[in-house]
Every structure is written in C-alpha cells, then in structure tokens.
C-alpha cells in the first residue's frame, strides 16, 4: 500500500511536469493549447534524433532542443495564436487542435509508426533505483522527474510574482489594452510567455521519452493527463498544478490496485469528481477569476439542470 502511494506520488511528479506548460498557458495566458502533448512529443523526437544520429546524450541534447522550443513558442504566438485570438475565444482552441493534427502527421511521415524511447541513451538511469526499508524501490529517474517538476513550477511561480517581466505577462494576460496604457509591449510579453511555456514543454518531452516509449500519436494522451492535472490543481497558483499532478498520479495508481484496467479510469474518475464538485458544490469557476467563466458556467449549470 505504501509502495503504491509512493509510486503514485512520483508518477504525479511526471504529470505535474507535463502539465506545467499547459497550466501556464491556460491560467496565465488564457490560451488552451491542444497541441501541448504533440509539441512535447516533437521535443522528444528531437532529442531522439540527436541521440541516435550524433550520439548526443538527451541531457546535453536539451541544450539544443530547449532554445529551439523557445523560438518555436515565440513564432507560434506571434504568427498563429495572436492572429487567431483576434477571432474570439474559440478560435485559438481550434487552431491549436489543427496544429496538433499537423504536428502528429508530420512526425508520422518523418519517423513512421515505430515506438521510440530515450531510455537506451541514458545508460542505467532508466532502471536504477534506491531501495527503501520494506523492499520498496524508488526509481532514480522518477525522483529526478519529481524534483524537476517542483523546480519548474516553483521557479515559474516565483518568476510570475517577483519579476517585472512576470508581472508584465500577468498584466498582459488580464488586459492587453490596459497593459499597453502603462507602457507594456503586449506582443513581446505574450511572445516571451509562449517561449517560456514551450521550454517547459521541451523538458516535459525529455522526461516522457526517458521514462517510457512514444510514437507520433502519443501527444493526445499526454495532453489529456496534463489537462487533468492542471484542472484538478485549479487556477490559484502553479503549485496547485503540482498537487493536481500528484492527485492524478495517486488516483491512477490506486485505480490500478483495484482492478488491472483501473489505471486510467481512476484518474478520469477523480478528474470528473473534482470538476463537478467545483461546479456544483462551491460554485467556483474552475477557470479562476477571468471574465467569461463565471457567467459561462452559470449558463452551463442552468442548462444541465433543465435537462435533468
């Protein structure tokens, strides 16, 4: 039982890591990025390509891939998300959905349907573990993933609340026009925020590749886990995303103990339970303080009541 809990928490560290970028874009920039998982897989493929072709260790490869991801985020924001955001709240969601399909199929065309992994390129790290009292084995990679997730989320939260640029990004997300009135260049602030988000996506992609296998269509499930962790954690702060990831990891691990097929069901059940508890019990909009959620959810609630 204790083993299950520990493994669940560590799995949660991975989910928190992959949810970090999504949560940042979702709650801070107010963009729901459905290409999140696909971009993480693309980063993993980039690392795999460097490792298998040039023998570059994935950890060194990150030094190349992360700047590439940052530039990709910058371009993505300026040429795709910003333009689509002018078309209303729904258009960026559809745009990133389309982007996910494009990325998935480009990867399929380029790399084929074979599953890949970064595990062969990191030596024994992929299966090394520490033994705890009571014959509990804790994977070194899992602990490292957890530590990275904590550092990423904590670092981002610190950046947002303590740095001038972080405040500029928050101000721009809330009201780009008013941000302009106090001298913030909204386009640059948003582009920088997108670049930062993509760097975290690159890191998440590296851990995805090291801890498991991936194929061109792995993005969808990763997006789902990231989304569940972000929503369970809520909009309060990025620390919530860490909690959300751990809750999701625990739910999946416990679900798997109940029934061999219960892994995914456990996670989904907790996600839906949290979502409905927020909607119906507390009335708190899960999107936080941002404008459309409160009235939007009231309408949804009214619609559901009228059908029941």
């Amino acid at each position: 039982m204790i083993d299950t809990l520990i493994q669940g928490v560590l799995l949660g560290g991975y989910y928190a890591g992959i949810a970090c970028g999504l949560s940042f874009m979702f709650f801070v920039m107010r963009i729901i990025n459905l290409a999140h998982g696909s971009l993480a897989v693309a980063a993993a493929y980039g690392l795999w390509l460097l490792a298998s072709t040039f023998g570059i260790s994935p950890f060194v490869g990150l030094l190349i891939i992360l700047p590439v991801m940052a530039v990709a985020g910058w371009i993505l924001q300026l040429y795709l998300l910003e333009r689509s955001a002018r078309g209303g709240a729904l258009l960026p969601i559809l745009t990133t959905f389309g982007l996910a399909i494009v990325i998935d199929n480009l990867m399929f065309e380029q790399f084929g349907a074979d599953t890949r992994s970064l595990a062969p390129f990191i030596g024994s790290l992929s299966y090394d573990s520490w033994e705890l009292p009571g014959s509990i084995y804790v994977g070194k990679l899992a602990v490292m993933t957890m530590a990275t997730a904590i550092a990423l989320l904590g670092g981002l939260q610190f950046f947002l609340s303590r740095f001038a640029l972080g405040r500029a990004i928050r101000a721009t997300a809330e009201d780009p026009d008013t941000a302009g009135l106090v001298g913030i260049d909204a386009r640059t602030a948003n582009a920088l925020a997108a670049a930062i988000a993509m760097v975290t996506v690159g890191i998440a992609g590296a851990f995805l590749g090291m801890r498991a296998t991936f194929d061109p269509y792995s993005g969808g499930p990763q997006l789902l886990f990231a989304f569940e962790a972000a929503v369970i954690g809520g909009a309060g702060s990025l620390w919530g995303t860490l909690i959300g990831g751990i809750v999701l990891g625990l739910a999946q691990s416990l679900g798997a103990q109940v029934h061999p097929q219960g892994f995914l069901i456990g996670g989904h059940a907790v996600f839906l339970a949290v979502l409905f508890a927020r909607l119906f019990l507390t009335g708190l909009p899960f999107l936080g303080k941002g404008g459309f959620s409160r009235t939007g959810l009231a309408k949804i609630r009214a619609a559901i009541r009228s059908t029941l």
């Binding site: 405040r167 809330e174 008013t178 302009g180 009135l181 106090v182 001298g183 260049d185």
Partner: protein, 251 residues
C-alpha cells in the same frame, strides 16, 4: 499657478492634433478636430454624451489610429505609435470605467506601471509606487487584491497607475464620475498636486465645477466637433454650448 519642474516652451504646442477624423463604419465620431496645448497646461473637455470626447482621448492616447489626421507630442509625430510607445514617451491615459489588473494587489498594479512606463531600476520603481500611492491616498489598501476595491479606490488606482509611468501629460477620462462632493474634493487636491509637478492634464468630466477648480481652459465638444474653446466661464456662457446641452436657445 506656480509651475516649477518642467521647462516651459512658450509658443510651442506640446501636444497637438490636426485634422483628426475618426469614423466607425458610417458613423463619424470625430470630424476634422484640431486641438493643441502647451506643456503643463490643464484643459477640461465637456460636452453631451456621444460628443466624441472619449474617442478623442483614445485617439490621442493611441488606442486606435485616426482615419485621417496627425498627432504630435513633445516635438515628435506619434500618429503611428502604439499606446505602449506613447506611454513610454510620457503620454498616458486613464479609463472611464476603471480597469485594474484584478489578479494583482494594488501595489502590484502600480508596480507594473512603474517598472514598464519608462525602464528604471527596481529601487526607483518602488519609490515611484510609494509616491503614486501616497499622492492618491492609497497606501492603506496597497496590499489588497485590486478586485476587492470599491469604486473610489478603483478610480484612484487608475490615476496612481498612470502616475507611476512618470507621465508628462495625463489624459483623464471621467475619473470624478460617481464620487461624492467630499471625494471629488480629494480628487481635486490630487490633480492640483500633479499640476504643481508640471504634469499636463486633459480632463473629460461632466461635473463642471470640479473642472473649473483645476483647469484654465475649457473645450466643449458636440457631434464630433469642437464647438467652443477658451476661458471656462466664457465657454460655459457660449450660446452654442448652451444649445448643445439644453437643445434650445438660451433664455
């Protein structure tokens, strides 16, 4: 009125707008408006609803480009500059309906403005925040979340945030609306202090007696045009102004 800090440049228009034309679809909101003012001047703008006052202010501040016309500020053509760029060069506006960054505290709201209005170090930015909050009487609510503030404090926050960008000229849009007489009196004191520091003021307000305490020049707009411009009492007595307000001939 004593104006100490800024160098006066007599005969030189600090802010000028010439031939400003703005239409939304078929509706002409600003019809060939010409306007200019010197540094450290304080000008009040009055006019009935829909006269184009806020649109003029938005065009001056850079919220949208005018269809025709040129705007110069501080010796520079700013017509093509964004609101953020105009803010950094010292031209800043406040909103009629206060728009605080609601996810932040009062202090953070003002700090964002201080840190980005014109790039400064952290210490100077802090000093500016404290100065702005003190001047606007908001130190007591500095650590409150901005979305918990009442109307008066929201209006003050608009002013404090604009002030923290270190403006040379402030465009104020109905910051006195909805205030009690006592509150309006505090506001006048604050604006007079801004004038003492040499900051130019363009102030749209329906409450004329507040304007008269601060400005030495009044502009009346109606249907997208400036119909009267000059000393406040003369403007308020102008036949065209009375007609615009009351819709008839003066008694």
């Amino acid at each position: 009125m004593q104006i100490a800090t800024h160098e006066q440049r007599p005969g030189h228009a600090f802010l000028s707008a010439s031939g400003i034309h703005k239409r939304f679809g078929a509706l002409v909101v600003l019809d060939n408006v010409d306007f200019s003012m010197g540094q450290s001047d304080a000008i009040g703008i009055v006019g009935p609803n829909g006269a184009g006052k806020t649109t003029l202010l938005s065009a001056l501040a850079g919220a949208f480009p005018p269809n025709f016309g040129t705007i110069t500020f501080d010796g520079r053509n700013v017509t093509a500059l964004s609101a953020a760029e105009r803010c950094r060069s010292g031209l800043v506006r406040t909103h009629q309906v206060p728009k605080p960054f609601s996810g932040m505290t009062t202090f953070e709201n003002v700090f964002v403005a201080a840190a980005h209005g014109s790039a400064v170090g952290r210490d100077e930015a802090y000093e500016r925040v404290i100065d702005s909050l003190t001047l606007c009487g908001m130190l007591g609510v500095a650590n409150r979340q901005a979305d918990t503030l009442g109307l008066l404090d929201r209006k003050r926050l608009e002013l404090a945030r604009a002030l923290a960008t270190r403006p040379k000229l402030m465009l104020l849009d109905e910051i006195g609306g909805g205030l009690t007489d006592a509150e309006a009196g505090e506001l006048v004191t604050t604006i007079l202090e801004l004038r003492r520091r040499g900051i130019g003021i363009v102030w749209i307000e329906h409450i004329v007696h507040i304007l008269l305490q601060v400005t030495e020049r009044l502009i009346c707009m109606d249907a997208g045009r400036i119909i009267a411009d000059g000393a406040p009492r003369a403007v308020m007595a102008d036949a065209g102004v009375v007609k615009a307000y009351l819709g008839g001939t003066p008694a």
